[in-house]
C-alpha cells in the first residue's frame, strides 16, 4: 500500500525552479531517504508534503486520497532542519501545546507526552525551559514533539545533527521502532553513511530534479564498477592478466577491476594458479557517498539564479 504519492510536483520561485517535476511514491512502513546537495529543493519539497506550501503544479496523494493539509496534518509529523521551539516556555507545556495544535485532546496529549518523556528519560525536564537545555537535549525534545501524536508519516530533516553517538543511536532505535509500528519515515539529509544504514529506499535530488530513485541495494548494484579486493599471503611481483586490471596494490592487498565479459571466477582462477594463498576475496560496492559525488559532480556547486519564465 502506498502511503504517499507525488505526481509531477512543481514549485517555481521568481528566480529558481525549486522543485521541477518530481514524482515518486512511498510504501507504508518504509524508511525513505531524500538526498541532495544544499539547495537541491529538498526543503521546498518537504514543505509541500507537510502542507506549508502549495505546489504550483502536480498532485499529492496521501493515503489514497488527494492531500488535504487541514485534515491530514494530524497524520504527519514534521521536524524541520532548523529546530524551533519557544525558548521561554516550559518544556512540558510546550509539548502539550504543540500536540494539541495537531488536534489531540488535552487528556490524550497529556498521556502521550508523559509516555514519551518517560520513554526517553526526560521526565525531570517538564518544568524547565528550552533555553535551559543543551543543543542535543532540545534536539531530543524536538523529536518527541514530532512523533508525539502518532503520525503515519514522519518527516525528519537532518535528525541527527548535533546529537552525540549515544543519543543518535537512541533516536535511530526509535525510528526503527516507529517504522516497525507502521509509520512511514522520510529522511532528508546529506550525510550518506546514515542513509546507507537506515533507509530502504532513496531519492536523490539535484537542482530541483530527481536524478536517482530506488532501493539502496539496487542503486549500489547499478553503480558498481566491478571492483574486487583480494588479500593474499604473498603477492607475485608481476601481475598480468587479460581478465582484469590491477587498480591498487597495498602490501598484500590488491584491488582489481574486472574487464568486460569476465566475472569474479575468472579472477579467482588466475590467482589460484599463482603461488600465494587467497585469504579473502570480496566485491567492492560503491558507497552512496561516492555515487552521490559522482552524480552531483559536474553540476555547479551552488545553484545559479535564473529567470523562470
Amino acid at each position: 500500500m502506498q502511503l504517499l504519492e507525488l505526481k509531477n510536483l512543481k514549485k517555481y520561485y521568481a528566480t529558481q525552479k525549486a522543485v521541477d517535476d518530481i514524482s515518486f511514491s512511498l510504501k507504508e512502513g518504509s524508511i525513505f531517504g531524500l538526498l541532495g546537495p544544499n539547495g537541491a529543493g529538498k526543503t521546498t519539497l518537504l514543505r509541500m508534503i507537510t502542507g506549508i506550501f502549495f505546489p504550483d503544479e502536480g498532485e499529492i496523494i496521501f493515503n489514497g486520497k488527494k492531500f488535504n493539509p487541514l485534515n491530514d496534518n494530524l497524520f504527519i509529523g514534521y521536524m524541520p532542519e532548523e529546530r524551533g521551539l519557544y525558548k521561554k516556555m516550559k518544556i512540558g507545556e510546550q509539548a502539550l501545546y504543540l500536540a494539541q495544535l495537531k488536534g489531540l485532546g488535552y487528556a490524550d496529549a497529556m498521556e502521550k507526552t508523559k509516555y514519551w518523556f518517560k520513554r526517553l528519560e526526560m521526565e525531570t525536564w517538564w518544568n524547565k525551559k528550552v533555553e535551559d537545555l543543551s543543543k542535543g537535549m532540545s534536539q531530543k525534545l524536538q523529536f518527541v514533539i514530532t512523533v508525539l501524536h502518532q503520525p503515519r508519516l514522519i518527516i525528519l530533516d537532518e535528525p541527527f545533527s548535533g546529537l552525540d553517538p549515544v543519543n543518535a543511536n537512541l533516536i535511530k532505535d526509535e525510528i526503527y521502532h516507529l517504522a516497525k509500528g507502521g509509520a512511514t519515515i522520510i529522511f532528508s539529509t546529506h550525510r550518506m553513511e546514515q542513509v546507507e544504514e537506515i533507509c530502504d529506499h532513496i531519492v536523490l535530488m539535484n537542482q530541483g530534479k530527481k536524478i536517482l530513485d530506488g532501493t539502496v541495494q539496487n542503486i549500489k548494484q547499478e553503480f558498481k564498477e566491478n571492483l574486487f579486493s583480494i588479500q593474499l599471503n604473498e603477492t607475485p611481483d608481476e601481475i598480468n592478466s587479460d581478465v582484469f586490471d590491477l587498480i591498487k596494490r597495498f602490501d598484500h592487498k590488491l584491488t582489481v577491476k574486472i574487464k568486460e565479459g569476465y566475472n569474479s571466477n575468472d579472477v579467482l582462477k588466475y590467482f589460484l594458479q599463482q603461488q600465494g594463498i587467497i585469504e579473502s576475496f570480496n566485491e567492492i560496492l560503491p558507497s552512496l557517498n561516492e555515487i552521490f559525488i559522482k552524480l552531483v559532480e559536474g553540476t555547479k556547486n551552488s545553484r545559479q539564479f535564473v529567470k523562470v519564465s
Binding site: 507537510t50 502549495f54 496534518n73 514534521y78 532548523e82 519557544y86 521561554k88 495544535l101 514533539i145
Partner: protein, 439 residues
C-alpha cells in the same frame, strides 16, 4: 476555531504570567497616582507665608493693603532694606513717591510665583480702591457690598440633548479627549510592538515552521493578535481599576479644602513647567467637582471600541512587518516607519482637533481608519450628537472595521510568505508583491 483558541490561550497566558507584565501592571498606576499625590501635596504645603513691610512715605495706602493668602502686609515704622530681616520680615516694599508706579520689593530670596501674583493683585486692588474713593468719592463700605453682590461671572455651558438640558464642561471634555486619545496612541505602540516582537521571535526561533505545519499561518497570526489584544485589555482594565481605587484612597488623605486650594493655586499660575504638574493636581480637584457632567457610558464604550479596533487595525500590519524581518532588528526600524508615521500624524491631528473638535480637519480625519481611533476619541467627549453627529460616529466605526478587515487580509498574505523566508532583507516592494499576488 479550536486551534485559534489554543493559540490565543498560549499567547495570553505566557504574557500574563510574565513577571515583567505583573510588575508593570501594578507599578504604573502606583507611580501615576503617587506622582500626582506628591505634586498635590507639595504644591499645597509649599505655599510659604511671606510678611512684607511696606515703606509708604507718601502715605498712598493709608496704612492698609489687604492681606492675601500667601502674603501679609504691615506698615511698621523704622524698617528699611538694611534691617527688615532682623525685624522678622521676609521683604520690604517701597511705594514710589513719584507717579511712575514702579514698586520695589527687596527681599533676600525670590518670592514664589504665587506670592508675586498675590502681591501685584493686592497692590492693584488697593490702588483701585483708593482711586475710586478719591476721584469719585465712593464710600468703601458700599463699594465692598456692591462687589460682593456682583459675584464674578461663571460661564456654564449647556446644550440640549434629547429634550433635556445637559451641562457641558469643555475643560473636562478636553481632559478626557486628550487623555483617551493619548492612551490609545501609547497602547497602539506598546501592543503593536508586542505583536511584532512575538512574530519575530517565532520566526527567528524557527518554531513558526513547526506550528504552520499544524495550523494555517492566518490562524497563527490572528491567534497572536487576539491573544495580545486580550493582554492589552486586561492591563488597561486593571490600570483603570487600580487608578480609580488608588486615587480614591489618596483623595481621602486630603481634605476637600486642600484640593480646592491646589486647584486655585493652579489657576493663578499663568504658564511654565510647574503648571503642567500642578495642572494635573488642579484638574483632579476640578474633575472631582464636575465628573458628573460627562457621558461616561458612551465615552467608555467608544474608548473600548476604538482601542480594540484601532489595535486590530494596526496589529496585523505590525505582524506583517515582524514576519518580514530577519534576525537583524535594524531592518525592523526601516520597515516600521510607514506604520508608525500614520500613528504619529494622528496624534498631531488630535492635538489640533481637540481645540476645534468640529473643524473640518478633525471631522475628516476621524473618518479615516488610520487616524480615527485617536482623533475620534478626542472629539467624542465634547458631546454626541452635539459635536459628533451620530452618522459621523457610525461611519467612522464602520470604516474602521472595514479597514481592519482590509489590513488583516493584506497582512495575512505578507505574513504567510514572510514567516518562512530567511536570509535576505525584504523591501517594501517585495512585501507589496507578496500581498497582491494571486494564489
Amino acid at each position: 476555531m479550536k486551534k485559534i483558541w489554543l493559540i490565543i490561550k498560549r499567547e495570553y497566558l505566557t504574557r500574563v504570567r510574565n513577571k515583567t507584565f505583573i510588575l508593570s501592571t501594578i507599578l504604573t498606576p502606583l507611580l501615576f497616582v503617587g506622582l500626582i499625590t506628591a505634586v498635590t501635596f507639595i504644591s499645597v504645603k509649599n505655599v510659604d507665608q511671606e510678611t512684607v513691610a511696606v515703606v509708604d512715605e507718601t502715605n498712598l495706602f493709608n496704612g492698609k493693603i489687604e492681606n492675601a493668602k500667601a502674603i501679609t502686609f504691615s506698615f511698621p515704622q523704622g524698617v528699611d532694606s538694611t534691617n527688615y530681616q532682623q525685624k522678622g520680615f521676609s521683604g520690604v516694599l517701597y511705594v514710589p513717591t513719584d507717579s511712575n508706579n514702579k514698586y520695589r520689593l527687596i527681599s533676600k530670596k525670590q518670592f514664589g510665583m504665587i506670592a508675586e501674583d498675590n502681591l501685584e493683585d493686592r497692590i492693584n486692588a488697593a490702588m483701585e480702591n483708593k482711586m475710586l474713593k478719591n476721584t469719585y468719592n465712593i464710600d468703601m463700605q458700599s463699594l465692598d457690598s456692591a462687589r460682593k453682590s456682583a459675584a464674578r461671572a461663571q460661564v456654564e455651558q449647556a446644550y440640549y440633548e434629547g429634550g433635556t438640558i445637559k451641562k457641558g464642561n469643555s475643560g473636562l471634555a478636553y481632559g478626557i479627549g486628550y487623555g483617551s486619545g493619548f492612551l490609545i496612541y501609547i497602547t497602539l505602540f506598546i501592543y503593536g510592538t508586542m505583536v511584532m516582537r512575538g512574530v519575530m521571535e517565532e520566526k527567528t526561533n524557527r518554531i513558526a515552521e513547526v506550528v504552520v505545519s499544524s495550523v494555517k499561518p492566518f490562524q497563527l497570526m490572528i491567534g497572536k493578535i487576539v491573544g495580545i489584544g486580550a493582554v492589552g485589555l486586561t492591563q488597561l482594565l486593571l490600570w483603570i481599576v487600580l487608578i480609580i481605587g488608588l486615587s480614591t484612597a489618596a483623595g481621602a488623605i486630603f481634605s476637600q479644602e486642600t484640593l480646592q486650594q491646589a486647584s486655585e493655586a493652579t489657576r493663578q499660575i499663568p504658564s511654565g513647567s510647574a503648571a503642567v504638574a500642578n495642572g494635573a493636581a488642579g484638574k483632579w480637584a476640578e474633575i472631582q467637582e464636575t465628573l458628573g457632567s460627562a457621558n461616561w457610558f458612551l465615552i467608555v464604550g467608544c474608548f473600548l471600541f476604538y482601542f480594540l479596533f484601532g489595535y486590530l487595525f494596526y496589529a496585523s500590519l505590525f505582524a506583517a512587518v515582524g514576519s518580514s524581518v530577519n534576525e537583524d532588528p535594524q531592518d525592523a526600524q526601516s520597515l516600521l516607519l510607514p506604520i508608525t508615521m500614520p500613528i504619529i500624524i494622528a496624534i498631531i491631528i488630535m492635538i489640533n482637533a481637540i481645540t476645534n473638535p468640529s473643524g473640518s480637519l478633525a471631522t475628516w480625519s476621524s473618518m479615516i481608519p488610520f487616524f480615527s481611533p485617536i482623533v475620534m476619541m478626542a472629539r467624542i467627549p465634547f458631546g454626541v450628537p452635539g459635536t459628533v453627529p451620530y452618522w459621523q460616529l457610525l461611519l467612522s466605526m464602520v470604516l474602521l472595521v472595514i479597514g481592519f478587515l482590509g489590513t488583516t487580509w493584506v497582512s495575512a498574505k505578507i505574513y504567510r510568505t514572510g514567516i518562512l523566508m530567511y536570509g535576505k532583507k525584504v523591501t517594501w516592494k517585495e512585501m507589496w508583491k507578496w500581498a497582491f499576488r494571486k494564489y
